[in-house]
Symmetry: C2
Subunit: 207 residues, 2 copies
């Protein structure tokens, strides 16, 4: 016996339930919600997704998403093009842009080295990063990768290969430490250790 | 300043964030997930939703969703057509069908009477239910509406109007009581009161 009285509804539910973090019950709720919307609203929904998938560009330089072959950040003359911030994912670009504190440009790896998941150096955009460092006038590479073993491995690999080719580039890593709002008691030991070793001048934080 | 480097991505995120229970962060996650899928997978996704919206029928008799003008349940000769279970929503049909215990047919109201939300008798499928009772050979109407004031009001309204037209139809309501797995201590008083008043023969529950 079929679980739903409509195959069309069932198909839509199955597709929605494939999305990460969306369970079967939520998928039913979302499908029935869409069914109740006007035809115009539903086509706005489906077309926005189809348009994104079919017409979006990945910037040929930094691999960020863009509406043109070269992204808005790379082609913005007000950005400091000698500073490259290396991130795992497009989501990280969005997060850093939201802080409004970074004025350089980016390089999106599209992942981190993970032997466990079968992701090697060739699967992510490391070669093109090293190419940029050789061809462009880069003064600093900021490694803003996840604070995980995979992130650290990737950062180490990249830093080694940059150093091999160029002795002068500054290689930085974003600060690890006690997150704002957290107390020391509930911060893990490794983070706390790092935050003590990498302590900074107090008055400089007040500026 | 634009929050995202791509207007296409931003549009998709905005549309996804309109779905109930989906916050902005989840919308970003889902949009980027879809962006990573193959074009085929994404068109399967969008087309399943567009197909559902454009081609689904609402059964002319019971208002359940269907792939043809008369739904599979109503047109199934093995279902007991003299028994009508009145529910608020399509989701309730799915829930009751999953129990596999009900062999009658349905009537989907599409809502319950709610003066607070401006939903009156004319806004839901009550008139067509009363029409069915006059035209079809109905022996029992089972009211399976939410255990809320609105659900109870709707049940009362329907029962009054059925009785006015027909003295013989049996009007039932699904049992309220202590949910399976719950203990008495944590069951609210009204539910507990109802479950005591509507107690049933113990041996009959063992069959």
């Amino acid at each position: 016996m079929q679980e739903y009285s409509s195959k069309l509804l069932e198909n839509a539910i199955n597709q929605i339930a494939k999305l990460p973090g969306i369970g079967r019950k939520t998928a039913v709720r979302l499908a029935l919600h869409l069914l109740k919307q006007s035809p115009e609203e539903v086509s706005l929904f489906t077309e926005s997704i189809a348009n994104m998938k079919n017409n979006i560009f990945f910037c040929s330089k930094c691999h960020n998403v863009s509406d043109s072959p070269s992204c808005e950040i790379c082609s913005n003359p007000h950005r400091v093009s000698s500073q490259i911030c290396v991130v795992q994912d497009i989501r990280d670009v969005i997060a850093i842009e939201n802080t409004q504190v970074y004025k350089g440009i980016y390089h999106v790896l599209g992942g981190v080295i993970s032997p466990m998941q079968g992701i090697g150096v060739a699967d992510i955009n490391i070669e093109s990063l090293l190419g940029r460092i050789e061809q462009e006038d880069v003064s600093e590479v900021i490694l803003a990768l996840p604070a995980t073993t995979e992130g650290d491995t990737t950062a180490f690999y990249i830093s080694q290969h940059i150093r091999k080719r160029n002795q002068n580039i500054q290689i930085s890593v974003i600060a690890r430490g006690v997150a704002i709002g957290n107390d020391l008691e509930n911060t893990d030991e490794i983070t706390l250790t790092r935050s003590i070793i990498n302590r900074v001048n107090f008055e400089s934080t007040l500026k």
